[in-house]
Amino acid sequence: MTRTRAQLVWLLIAIVGFLTLCPVLMLLAGSFSQGLTAFGAFTAHKYVAAYTDPALAGVIVNTLVFVLGASLFSTVLAIFLSYLNTRTNIPWKGAFTLLSIVPMMIPHLLFAISWALLLNPSNGLMNLVLRGAFGLEQSPINIYSIGGMIFVEGLLNLPIAYLVIAPAMGAFDVSLEESSRVSGAGTLTTLRRITLPILRPAILAAFTLCVVRALASYAVPRALGTPGRVDVLATYLYEMISTGFAPDYGQAAALGMSVLSASILLIVLYRALTAEGGKFVTISSRGFKPAIIDLKGARLPLFVVVALLCLLMIVIPVGALFYTSLLPYSMVPGARALALMSWQNWIEMVHDDITMRALQNSLILAIVGASLGVLLSLFAAYVTVKLRTKAAGLLEMLTFLSFSFPGIVIGIGFMWFFVQTPLYATLTAMMLAYIAAYLPYGVRPLTSAFVQVHAHLEESSQVCGAPPLTTMRRIVAPLVLPGIVSAWILMATMFIRELSVSVVLSRPGSEVLAVRILNFADDGLWGKLSALGIVMILLSTGMVLAATYAGRKFKRH
């Protein structure tokens, strides 16, 4: 019994190890070789070329400003919202949950493009309205700028920061604050001197996670930075492998190594921070509800801020896309726009073969890929939770590390691998890369599902006389099923919208939805783009709703 178990663990380590380490090692090998198809002799030439490029300094400065700015924006906003939700009597608290799942429903690329539709300098809807209203010559706001990128990326990463900070704030032992109040400190002094310092590990962890995500982000820099000629590392890397007649994968690999190292370093830092977080935040077991702070006169204005945020994050982007999808070209809402509205873009989209093939490919990747990914995650999670061996720890580390990998770098790494195999330019290749890049999304919900199944629950079934398979079927499987469902939906949602890996690996014949959206954007076909975008949002939203429903249904017992 123990023998087959050990074999299973090593088989899993081999599969997961291949998926996570293959792109990394290929990237490393590629960065020291001469060309994509033939590795040739060892050379450091690509490093010299990549790191002496005069344009690089500017790109790095842009990247730093973009990543740190966006992360700071998300974290500060998340602290503000967490405090309002967990500690004050702000009305309509359901809005906070809604805000935290929005990026699950609206893919990042579409969110960024919708802001481009609203605030681009030449014909952004909001800019047109503002120009008309104030009689301005020029557009007042240019989203194609580093500021615009920070704003949009910050909004997108807000839920990640919120999901780290809010539970910590909710679990806070209130007596720590109460003793500060008794000592004579007011609400604000207590917040500054007691609450925030104690929550520092959680806040730093949230910030680090945002940095990792912003560094890996390709959608926002591509949709907003590229048109404004603001390059960050992600877009700079992509340009190396796409522009001109001789895409240079070697140079991209050389530069990608730095991005990858930075990401791994950051995720290790994040882990250290969250491990320490447990020491700081004390959860009161006495079952006391945190004292709710009465906002008094500030209640309504603060609520308006939250409502405005909901508007910025949900209504305006989706509204802009839908509006655009009904018009032949960009124009201010009004009588003329109303007269020109039609389903033309939608009809053309349905008759466009490439778009339909992209839709089909994305659905196949989502359904088959998520199923295989969940199967792998299921075994990996079981091993990491139930077997506390060294090998199981190694497996856990592997699945965790890949959480930090920027999609575009993983894509480049896999490119070096697939080009040597018959899998090149196939859906299978993309599926493998997807599973590798998004494995933690499957492993994490399943790990927590297994953690909840106390060993006694299995053991008591055994003592009751049930053979192992019966225990698996009647006790373990039903208890883990909600985790399986949510892991599957999470992975499928990620795959439906996947951009940064696909943009590297996708070839004619293996188009996917997000890449098709980029094609439309490059060709300026905003109407068709918006129609397809709404389809993507509907698909994602449908899946998120299904996940919520499934979660509720199973939670009832």
Binding site: H456, L457, E459, S461, V463, G465, P467, R474, L479, H557
Partner: protein
């Protein structure tokens, strides 16, 4: 059914060091007794229980239940837990959250592929037995702690096992409920022909419930006997200390007389329960506080030892006064009836029965 354990060993490795969780345990538990394994956490009692039920595999030795060998290192026998036909109540109750009360209790019968009508009948009987009628359709995790405990008991009993095992089943209940449940548990089990093995670190539970107690330390059984035996006639300092409060005084064995052993202490010569210790050897004299009686008579009653001391501290704790009495160079803790009028600083006379003075080596 009786249970026989021979030379059972179980080793764990932690930080590169091998620790014996069970160190050559020999044990024989007669059928239809309530047997308790008592000891502090980490003494190996739960490991022993899990070896008996089959959830843990020992490294050496043999276990047989009702004459059938279920585990033997020598003969290479391992009967898996599901084939041992036992009942068990877990510390966490291990109530399956996705099943109703009925399904939880019916489970052992369902996996035995019993007829549905018979299952309904037996589950109803089990629920009646633990006084939980009318909650069959409820979700089991919605019940209170005490009710969940009864569900766990009903599930362990429903297949009518001949042996039932308990792993600290009362430790998750609050103090008042724990006492009630303890009494009920004993009443339930008295009605059945069943061998019960009970693991606990709570001495009161062990004393109140058991026919036999085995006190464990570091993977070994130190002492075994009836609750009275263990409490009144402990043979080891460790056991005397673990099972209740005791004054411990350094002593030297003087000589043996008719039914008693005399020992020299800082308080003078004390007559003790006879123990075969060599004269001149060092020992610990152990006296429980409730056996130090305050008396007004000048001379001690026939056969008892008289002592005189000064009350240094007096504490009222409800049913008794707890007094710290200085006798020569020693200090004795005594429990005094509240109707005996004493005050701090008083000089009092005491009488002690030699039967309650235990001389313990080491």
């Amino acid at each position: 059914m009786d249970i026989r354990i021979e030379g059972l060993c179980k080793y764990f490795t932690s930080d590169g060091k091998t620790v014996a969780a069970l160190d050559h345990v020999d044990l024989s538990i007669p059928a239809n007794t309530f047997f308790t394994l008592l000891g502090p956490s980490g003494c190996g009692k739960t490991t022993l229980l899990r070896c008996i039920v089959g959830l843990e595999t020992p490294d050496e030795g043999e276990i047989s239940i009702g004459g059938e060998v279920v585990w033997s290192s020598r003969k290479g026998i391992f009967v898996p837990p599901e084939k041992r036909g036992l009942g068990m109540v877990f510390q966490t109750y291990a109530i399956w959250p996705h099943m109703s009360v009925f399904d939880n209790i019916a489970y052992p019968l369902q996996v035995r592929k019993m007829d549905a009508a018979l299952i309904r009948e037996k589950v109803a009987k089990a629920l009646r037995f633990v006084q939980l009628e009318g909650v069959e359709r409820r979700s089991a995790t919605k019940l209170s702690g005490g009710q969940q405990q009864r569900v766990a008991l009903a599930r362990a009993l429903v297949a009518e096992p001949r042996v039932i095992l308990f792993d600290e089943p009362l430790s998750n209940l609050d103090a008042k409920l724990r006492e009630e449940t303890r009494r009920e548990l004993r009443r339930f089990l008295d009605e059945l022909d069943i061998t019960a093995i009970y693991v606990t670190h709570d001495r009161v539970e062990a004393l109140a419930l058991s026919d036999t107690i085995a006190v464990m330390r570091a993977g070994r059984i130190v002492e075994m006997g009836t609750p009275q035996d263990i409490y009144f006639n402990a043979r080891h300092r460790y056991v005397a200390d673990f099972i209740g409060r005791a004054n411990q005084i350094e002593a030297t064995v003087l000589r043996h007389e008719d039914g008693i052993t005399l020992a020299e202490t800082g308080m003078g010569t004390i007559a003790c329960q006879r123990r075969e210790l060599p004269a001149g050897s060092r020992a610990t004299l152990c006296i429980r506080p409730e056996f130090i009686h305050i008396t007004s008579r000048a001379a001690a009653p026939e056969g008892k030892t008289a002592l005189e001391g000064r009350i240094e501290a007096l504490e009222f704790v409800g049913e008794v006064y707890e007094a710290e009495i200085a006798v020569a160079g020693e200090r004795l803790l005594a429990r005094i009836d509240p109707d005996v009028a004493v005050r701090q600083g008083d000089t009092v006379r005491m009488a002690i029965d030699p039967a309650h003075c235990l001389l313990l080596s080491a």
